[in-house]
C-alpha cells in the first residue's frame, strides 16, 4: 500500500479547527432564529427585573440601565455557553462524536473548534440586548460595546470549553451534567453582582464574589460599556476572561484527548 495516500491530504490543527468551527456554526446559519430563542431568558430579566430594580434604586431609569445592562450581557455569555456541552453530550450518545473521533482530526481541534463557535451567538445576542435597551435610555458607546463583547467572547470560549469538559466527564449521565450545571450557575450569577449590588451583602458574600471571576467580568463590562477604557476594573475583567479561557482550553483539550 505505498500509493495509498491519494484521497486524503494530511490535515493540520488550524485547518481542523476551522472545519469543526464551520460544522458547528452551520445550524446557526441555517436557523438564525435559534439565536433569538435563547435570548428569551436574558430579555425576561431585562424586561421584568429591570423595572423593579429601577423602582427599588429610586434613581432614573437611564443610570440604572447603565448599571444593569452590562450584567445582562455577562448573563448571556454565562447561560449561553454553560449549556453548550449538552450538544456534545447528545452527540456522544448518538454516533456523531464517535464519527469525529475516527476522522483524521486533531483531538485539540475538536474541542477548540467547538469552543470558538460560542463566539458567534454570543456576539449576536449581546448586540441585540444592548440595542433593545437603547430606547429605554441606555446610552450606547460603540467602541466600548465592541471591547466589551471581545472580552465576553474570550470568556465565552473558556466557559464553553469548560461545559464541553463537563459533558466529556459525564458521558452518558445527562442528569449529572444538568445537576452540576444548575448547582453552579445560579450561585455564580448571584455572587457576581450581576443582578443586585453585593456591597450591602454580608462579608462572606463579598469574599465569595472576590474569588468569582464573573464579578471581575461584570465590573469590566460596566466600565467598558460606559466607554471608560481606563478603569482598573477593565484590567481585572480581561485577566478573569483570559484565565477562564486558558483553563477551559487546557482542561477541555485534555478531556478530549482522553475521549473514546
Amino acid at each position: 500500500m505505498t500509493t495509498i495516500d491519494t484521497t486524503a491530504r494530511p490535515t493540520g490543527f488550524l485547518r481542523d479547527t476551522a472545519s469543526v468551527f464551520v460544522r458547528e456554526s452551520r445550524p446557526l446559519v441555517r436557523d438564525p432564529f435559534s439565536v433569538i430563542f435563547s435570548l428569551v431568558q436574558p430579555l425576561v430579566f431585562l424586561g421584568l427585573f429591570g423595572p423593579l430594580l429601577i423602582g427599588a434604586a429610586g434613581g432614573d431609569a437611564a443610570s440604572t440601565l447603565q448599571w444593569f445592562v452590562p450584567g445582562i450581557l455577562v448573563m448571556v455569555a454565562l447561560f449561553g455557553t454553560a449549556s453548550t456541552g449538552a450538544n456534545l453530550l447528545f452527540e456522544m450518545q448518538t454516533g456523531s462524536h464517535e464519527r469525529t473521533l475516527v476522522a483524521p482530526l486533531s483531538r485539540s481541534a475538536l474541542l477548540v473548534g467547538r469552543a470558538l463557535k460560542e463566539v458567534v451567538p454570543l456576539v449576536i445576542q449581546g448586540t441585540i440586548v444592548v440595542l433593545v435597551a437603547v430606547p429605554f435610555g441606555f446610552s450606547l458607546d460603540v467602541p466600548g460595546l465592541i471591547a466589551g463583547l471581545a472580552v465576553l467572547a474570550v470568556f465565552g470560549i473558556g466557559f464553553g470549553a469548560l461545559s464541553y469538559t463537563l459533558a466529556l466527564a459525564c458521558r452518558n449521565r445527562d442528569w449529572m451534567f444538568w445537576m452540576v450545571h444548575q448547582t453552579l450557575l445560579f450561585p455564580l450569577m448571584i455572587l457576581s453582582g450581576m443582578l443586585l449590588p453585593l456591597e450591602d451583602g454580608p462579608a462572606w458574600m463579598q469574599v465569595a464574589a472576590a474569588i468569582n471571576p464573573l464579578s471581575y467580568l461584570v465590573g469590566a463590562e460596566r466600565a467598558l460599556l460606559a466607554g471608560d477604557f481606563g478603569a482598573p476594573a477593565v484590567v481585572g475583567g480581561i485577566i478573569a476572561a483570559a484565565v477562564t479561557c486558558a483553563i477551559g482550553i487546557v482542561v477541555g483539550v485534555r478531556a478530549m484527548k482522553r475521549a473514546r
Binding site: 500500500m1 505505498t2 495509498i4 495516500d5 484521497t7 486524503a8 491530504r9 494530511p10 490535515t11 485547518r15 481542523d16 472545519s19 469543526v20 464551520v22 460544522r23 452551520r26 445550524p27 441555517r30 436557523d31 447528545f90 452527540e91 450518545q93 448518538t94 454516533g95 456523531s96 464517535e98 464519527r99 469525529t100 473521533l101 475516527v102 476522522a103 483524521p104 482530526l105 473514546r260
Partner: protein, 334 residues
C-alpha cells in the same frame, strides 16, 4: 512515519493477538481474547456472533477508537498503535449509532465530513452530490437529520463513511433497528457499492441472514474469540451439512429406513445430515426403494449459519438474539 510492510501489498487488515480487558466490579473482564485476523483487499467479511461476543470491541480496536490491551494490527497499511492517524485517513467507519448531528442538514453534514478528511471544497461537493444520488438521499438532502427515518439516517451514516472513498469500510451492526424493507434496501446499497468500487468491507452483525446475504466470508465470534473463519458455504458444508428429510407410509418403515441410512426417525419422518444433500437424496430414495421402503415425500434443506453456530457452540444465535431483541428478531431471522 507509518510503518509500511512490503509483503502485505494485498492485505487490508492483519491483526495478531488483539486483546481487550476491562476492569468491572473488581474483576477483569476479557472482552476480546487474542484475536488474529487476516483480511485481503476486496473481501467482504462478516463478523458474526451474539451480542456481547466482542465484535464491536474488536472493531473499535481496529478503527483506533480503543487502544488494545495487547496485540498488534496493521489496518489499511498503518499500525493502529504507532500511526492511528494514518489508519483514520484511509478507513471509513460506520458505527452502531447514527452519526449525523440532529440539527445539521444532510448535505451540510456531508460537506463537513469532507472537510474533516482534508478534501477540497469542490471535490467534497461533487462527492457529496454523488453519494446523495447513489444512496437515494436527494429528497432529504436539505432537511435536518432529526427529521429522517431510520433507514434514511442509516444511508446517511454510510454516505458519511464513504465521503473520502476509503479502501476499507467498517460497518458496525449496519441494519440493527431497521424494518425489513429498509434492511433489504440497505443491503442492496452495500452490495452495489462493493460491485462498483471493490471496497473492502468488514461488518459486524448478530443477524444470521445479514451475514448470509452479504458476506462471502464469515468469522464467527463467541466469548471474545474467533471460533470459525471460512466462507459461509464451507462453514455450512463442513460444520453443519445438508438436512435431508424423508417421509414414509408408516412409522415402522421410517424406523427401518433410519437404521439403514443412519438418520433419526420421528414418527413417519426420517431426517439425516448429509454433505451434498441434493446428490444424496436420489441415492437414498433409490437404495431404500430397493429395500422395499417407499419414500412418499422428500425434502432437502441447506444448512443455515444458525446450524453452524449451533454446531460450534451448542447454542443457537436465534435464541441469543431473542434474549436481546425479543420484538425484532423472530420475524426477520425465519
Amino acid at each position: 512515519m507509518p510503518r509500511k510492510t512490503a509483503d502485505m501489498t494485498n492485505q487490508m487488515i492483519s491483526a495478531q493477538g488483539l486483546t481487550q480487558t476491562f476492569p468491572a466490579k473488581g474483576k477483569v473482564v476479557e472482552a476480546v481474547r487474542s484475536v488474529d485476523l487476516e483480511v485481503d483487499a476486496g473481501e467482504l467479511v462478516a463478523f458474526l456472533g451474539p451480542n456481547g461476543a466482542g465484535k464491536s470491541t474488536t472493531l473499535r480496536m481496529l478503527t483506533t477508537l480503543l487502544p488494545p490491551t495487547s496485540g498488534e494490527a496493521i489496518v489499511a497499511g498503518s499500525d493502529i498503535r504507532r500511526d492511528p492517524a494514518g489508519v483514520r485517513r484511509r478507513i471509513g467507519y460506520v458505527g452502531q449509532g447514527n452519526s449525523g448531528g440532529h440539527t445539521q442538514r444532510v448535505r451540510d453534514e456531508l460537506h463537513a465530513q469532507g472537510a474533516f478528511y482534508g478534501m477540497g471544497r469542490r471535490e467534497t461537493r461533487a462527492r457529496a452530490a454523488e453519494l446523495i444520488d447513489s444512496l437515494e438521499l436527494g429528497q432529504v438532502a436539505g432537511r435536518q437529520v432529526q427529521s429522517l427515518s431510520g433507514g434514511q439516517k442509516r444511508r446517511l451514516d454510510i454516505a458519511l463513511g464513504l465521503i473520502h472513498r476509503p479502501e476499507l469500510l467498517f460497518l458496525d451492526e449496519p441494519s440493527t433497528g431497521l424494518d425489513p424493507h429498509s434492511r433489504a434496501n440497505l443491503w442492496e446499497h452495500i452490495v452495489e457499492l462493493r460491485r462498483e468500487t471493490g471496497t473492502t468491507i468488514f461488518l459486524t452483525t448478530h443477524y444470521l441472514d445479514e451475514a448470509d446475504q452479504l458476506a462471502e466470508r464469515v468469522m464467527v465470534m463467541d466469548h471474545g474469540q474467533v471460533i470459525a473463519d471460512d466462507t459461509a458455504w464451507a462453514l455450512k458444508e463442513s460444520l453443519a451439512g445438508d438436512r435431508v428429510s424423508l417421509t414414509f407410509d408408516s412409522a415402522s418403515d421410517a424406523a427401518a429406513a433410519a437404521a439403514r441410512i443412519g438418520g433419526e426417525a420421528s414418527g413417519q419422518l426420517v431426517t439425516v445430515t448429509a454433505p451434498g444433500g441434493d446428490r444424496a437424496l436420489p441415492r437414498y430414495i433409490r437404495s431404500l426403494g430397493d429395500a422395499g421402503l417407499d419414500v412418499v415425500a422428500a425434502t432437502h434443506r441447506q444448512p443455515t449459519l444458525d446450524d453452524v453456530f449451533l454446531a460450534l457452540t451448542g447454542r443457537t444465535l436465534r435464541e441469543e438474539a431473542a434474549h436481546a431483541e425479543a420484538v425484532d428478531e423472530p420475524a426477520l431471522a425465519g
